[in-house]
């Protein structure tokens, strides 16, 4: 189990290849990569603020919950903070399990909880100014699935 909170970029492909490598008791690896989206082509930068004293422990608790619910062989979360450009990876989750259903469910669960329970806040700087990204009701509702 690995949790990393960092401002530096990470190499999602290298992380995927290093994850659960050489293990022969797993049949399924699922990864999720969150990318800075710029649908309208107006985004200059995304600024991610976080709560350093709380971030790693909050994510670790979420990952421990996932590992125990789905008997994962391994789990990984990397989350960046600071300024990011459109197209850059923001964060990544990976899960490894014997079977695909557990790996998919655990990754989906991790994303839902990281979205609404990990102390990060996103600010978008566009041509028109700067705005904090508002949390969506559907993201809060998604937690009821689990």
């Amino acid at each position: 189990m690995q949790v990393r909170v960092q401002s530096e970029p990470f190499d999602a492909g290298a992380e995927l290849n290093g994850f659960a490598q050489g293990r022969t008791d797993i049949g399924a690896v699922v990864s999720f990569t969150g990318v800075v989206r710029d649908t309208d082509g107006t985004l200059q930068e995304m600024l991610i603020e976080h709560y350093p004293g709380m971030t790693t422990s909050a994510i670790t608790k979420i990952v421990e919950e996932a590992v125990s619910r789905w008997t994962l062989a391994d789990a990984l979360v990397i989350h960046r903070h600071g300024p990011l450009k459109p197209g850059e990876p923001i964060m990544m989750v990976a899960t490894a399990a014997a079977h695909r259903a557990a790996a998919f469910a655990a990754a989906d669960f991790l994303m839902d909880y990281l979205k609404s329970r990990a102390p990060f806040w996103k600010k978008e700087i566009t041509d028109q100014g700067a705005d904090w990204v508002a949390a969506k009701d559907e993201d809060e509702d998604a937690l009821n699935r689990w």
Binding site: S57, H79, S116, R117, P119, F120, V133
Partner: protein, 81 residues
């Protein structure tokens, strides 16, 4: 007591953290006290439903007691992932 602010709460209050001397019994009491101090607090805490609170780095409720708490953090709903 160390009080921290994040995202637009931090921007409205103007500082990321400060030491607050208070006898407030609960988070709600602390907010009521801060709101009487200055307009910027009244502005930041105008709509509690738009805020979340953590006590000693754990998400908590606004009616939670503050006894023994060293760090209170106020912020909007999280937008991680």
């Amino acid at each position: 007591m160390n009080v921290m602010y994040f995202a637009w709460v931090r921007e409205r209050i103007g500082v990321p953290q400060e030491t607050v001397e208070t006898e407030a019994a609960t988070v709600n009491d602390l907010i009521a006290e801060l709101k009487t101090r200055e307009d910027r607090y009244a502005a930041a805490f105008a709509d509690i439903s738009a805020l979340r609170v953590a006590l000693d780095q754990e998400l908590s409720d606004f009616d939670a007691p503050l006894a023994g708490v060293r760090e209170v953090a106020f912020f909007p709903p999280m937008t991680g992932g």
